[in-house]
């Protein structure tokens, strides 16, 4: 699908969501709730006393289900259009680092740790700040989006630097 149309429909969907439920799109808080749910199994009294888990209670709510829905929707769309394919190493990565999936999974894991720390520090990710924040003309949304790209461009360029220099 043309990204303009898909984007416009996503924008309309976001507005509809706010109208129906009062919920703006976001994603990163759910990872805090999920982490809290896991920790709660082992040290429930400790989780109950942690300020951040009090702020973002470890439970399934709107955004949790929103994220499950995203995976489900993507799965169905991929099946229907016959574009579902299991892979562990993306094309661009393969060209630069080869076909080994161990290295790719490790870097994805480390990237995930950094991504969520940044998102929680900024209080939002490209959904919460980039879409919902900018949509509301929030200063934090615009600043965050610019910073996401500055950080990303610097690191992506260093990661793929050798290949470009050749």
């Amino acid at each position: 699908m043309n990204p303009y149309w898909a984007g416009a429909l996503a924008g309309a969907l976001a507005v509809f969501s706010v109208l129906m439920t009062g919920k703006f799109f976001g994603a990163s808080t759910t990872f805090v709730r999920a982490a809290g749910m896991i920790e709660k199994v082992f040290v429930p009294e400790r989780v109950a006393g942690m300020a951040y888990y009090v702020k973002e209670a470890p439970k399934v709510e709107w955004q949790w289900m929103f994220l499950i829905g995203i995976a489900l929707g993507s799965f169905v769309a991929a099946l229907v259009t016959r574009s579902f394919a299991v892979s562990f190493v993306p094309g661009l990565w393969r060209e630069r680092f080869g076909p080994g999936w161990g290295k790719r999974l490790c870097v994805a894991f480390i990237g995930g740790v950094i991504v969520i720390c940044g998102a929680r520090l900024a209080d939002g990710c490209p959904s919460g700040h980039g879409l919902s924040g900018v949509m509301q003309l929030a200063v934090s949304g615009f600043v965050a989006l610019v910073c996401f790209f500055i950080g990303g461009i610097i690191v992506a360029r260093s990661v793929y630097a050798k290949r470009r220099a050749r």
């Binding site: 898909a6 994603a27 990163s28 300020a51 951040y52 995976a71 394919a85 990565w93 950094i114 490209p126």
Partner: protein, 178 residues
């Protein structure tokens, strides 16, 4: 319908759109950071312009209330830069990593595991962060119309014009390349 079911349904539609627009691919996400593929810019700008018009039309009717996140320099700027660095390594953002798993890009599972672990680390560091970084340069929950002391429609018009010029330039440069 309960709010959780609405969340699920909204997510399903959003997931279909992310998958169909090829937004949830590592190559697309890294492609924009290397200035090779502008799919994400097209998707995001279209979404926020349509969304802005919708949200402010409904707000004028008193049907929705805004939910603006505070502009804290220590949090948004530093957190944003850190996020970007991690994004370039992972190649997916939190929402698109879910969509990536859905279409079989299972390297994103490593990222999701990392995000859960990272969220736990952040939660444990939060008392310290709240006293330090999150107190630096707190401007409160401000919007552009408040900064420029004007209505939201003039701001929206200028912003939409800027976005449109960006998109035209992108299309022009892409055609130039071909």
């Amino acid at each position: 319908m309960s709010i959780e079911v609405l969340g699920l349904v909204t997510g399903v539609i959003f997931g279909v759109l992310l998958q169909r627009a090829r937004v949830c691919r590592y190559d697309t996400q890294i492609g924009v950071l290397l200035f090779r593929d502008f799919t994400i810019v097209k998707f995001m700008l279209s979404a926020v312009i349509v969304g802005s018009v919708g949200i402010y039309l409904l707000k004028d009717q008193g049907l929705v209330t805004l939910s603006v996140k505070p502009m804290i320099m220590g949090g948004v700027v530093i957190g944003g830069l850190v996020f970007g660095a991690g994004w370039a390594l992972l190649g997916y953002c939190p929402a698109t990593s879910m969509a990536a798993v859905g279409e079989g890009r299972w390297d994103a599972v490593g990222g999701i595991a990392g995000m859960v672990v990272g969220a736990s680390i952040f939660a444990h560091m939060y008392p310290l962060i709240r006293k330090t970084l999150l107190t630096w340069g707190d401007f409160g929950k401000i919007t552009l119309p408040q900064v420029f002391k004007t209505g939201h429609w003039p701001v929206l018009l200028v912003w939409a014009a800027v976005a449109l010029v960006c998109l035209v330039l992108i299309e022009y440069s892409e055609r130039g390349v071909k």
